[in-house]
Amino acid sequence: MGNILASEFLKLRRKMVWFLVVIGPTGVIALQALNYGLRFDFLMKQYASDPWGYLMINVSNLLVPALLMGMTIISSMIASLEHQTNAWKQTVALPVGRTRLYLGKFGVTALLLLGSTTLAMVGTILLGLLLGHELEALPWKSLLIAMYGSFLSALPYLAVQVWLSVAISNQAVPLTIGIAGLVVSIFVLNGPSSLDWLPWKWPFLVRAEPMYSMVAGLLTGAVFYLLGTIHFVRKDVG
């Protein structure tokens, strides 16, 4: 497993992926900093009852769309490493099982996005301190849920994007499907609870229903990951 990931990371050297991993969370925090900065007194008064809580809601309302788009774009970039150079035949011909190859593609994407999520969490804490919120009052559990919980609940989305990006060489298709997913998730965000079964809702729902969203995300994500693996193992490449 280590070898596979090392080889994937090697292929990513000097690629734009790293820029995206950093710019995503930085952009989200910077936008919220701007949002708070422009109407500081008004927001502070309005959020006085629970400053950290509102900060987390504000950050995560932007972070989740950024995370979903990150999943879409980075999956596409990781798969394009092979698509663009017509290297699938060569990669598959290596003495490595296809199951492990697919795990490598999924793993590297997931690790990169976990990195972004961690950056976003650090950024949220820094922004909160900068705004004068007290560190003692920081609700760690809710923060971890808002950040890593969103990531876990978005795993079905990631699994589908990795699958489509690897399976279809024309990247316009997975990218458009990813964008459609983002639009759905934003519009069911405030929808009735009868829509809670929709996977697109889980990354936002996780703040209200953490256990349900995370478990459902993990399980559904695993199902799509398995389907993707089975398809990749049987697929005729090249």
Binding site: M16, L20, I23, G27, L31, N35, N61, L62, P65, A66, M69, I73, I74, S76, M77, S80, Q84, N170, Q171, A172, V173, L175, T176, I177, I179, A180, L182, V183, V184, I186, F187
Partner: protein, 240 residues
């Protein structure tokens, strides 16, 4: 010019791009058809706000990027730039026709969105006549507001062979829409928020825009001129 247009048409004709035209209108129509109507607002204005907002807040600007990358894909994957530009054609002609292709695809998407608005209204059982004039005006304005975005995306799409790289530029500028489009002070000056601002109806009456028309025109045309000039300068001078 005509031969270049025909060559672009040939490349697009049997591609998967036709599939991509339907996503946003279908989704926006579905959301319109299932929305619960508010009784005190004119039903068409309400539906137009719902369907067009869904369509234009993120999907339309992002789709502009997808189409721009799409029209360059054929050249990028088959070493086609060298071949195409070795023909007796002007580089600026090739570039402008690609822009035309993107805008053409967007025009189809806009028309399909009108159809989905109409369908959503029929499903919701709206009985008042369809406000053709206002709807078409907003659809055309939203389409025109995509011009600067298409010009910028075409520039980055010709520069990078990867599909995801130009799209990430697009996403980086479009996601802030979620905050910027709601801001009365900054929204009218942010080019990526113009498609949605141009497509939203004014609640007071048909045929007017949410933002002052002259600001809308100045921002759209200004950014279009800058992006188009930059892209053309780059494309006509670069080594292929």
């Amino acid at each position: 010019m005509v031969p270049i247009i025909r060559s672009e048409w040939l490349k697009l004709r049997r591609s998967k791009v036709w599939l991509l035209l339907f996503f946003s209108p279908l989704l926006a129509g579905l959301i319109g058809a299932t929305a619960s109507m508010t009784p005190d607002v004119d039903p068409w204005v309400f539906l137009q706000a719902t369907v067009f907002y869904t369509h234009a807040l993120l999907f339309l600007p992002l789709l502009t990027g997808v189409f721009s990358a799409f029209v360059c894909r054929y050249e990028h994957i088959h070493g086609g730039w060298k071949q195409l530009l070795a023909m007796p054609v002007h580089r600026s002609g090739v570039y402008l026709v690609k822009l035309l292709a993107v805008m053409g695809l967007l025009a189809v998407v806009q028309l399909l969105t009108v159809v989905s608005l109409l369908a959503a209204g029929m499903i919701e059982g709206v009985e008042t006549p369809f406000p053709w004039g206002a709807v078409l005006l907003h659809v055309a304005a939203g389409w025109a507001a995509c011009l600067p975005l298409a010009a910028l995306q075409l520039a980055v799409s010709t520069a990078w062979a990867s599909f995801a790289a130009p799209l990430s530029v697009n996403v980086i500028f479009t996601l802030p829409n979620m905050l910027v489009a709601n801001s009365n002070d900054y929204g009218p000056f942010y080019p990526w928020a113009q498609p949605v601002l141009a497509m939203l109806p004014d609640r007071l009456g048909a045929g007017t825009f949410l933002v002052p028309t002259d600001t809308l025109l100045a921002v759209v045309l200004g950014s279009f001129a800058v992006f188009l000039a930059g892209g053309l300068l780059y494309f006509t001078r670069r080594t292929i």
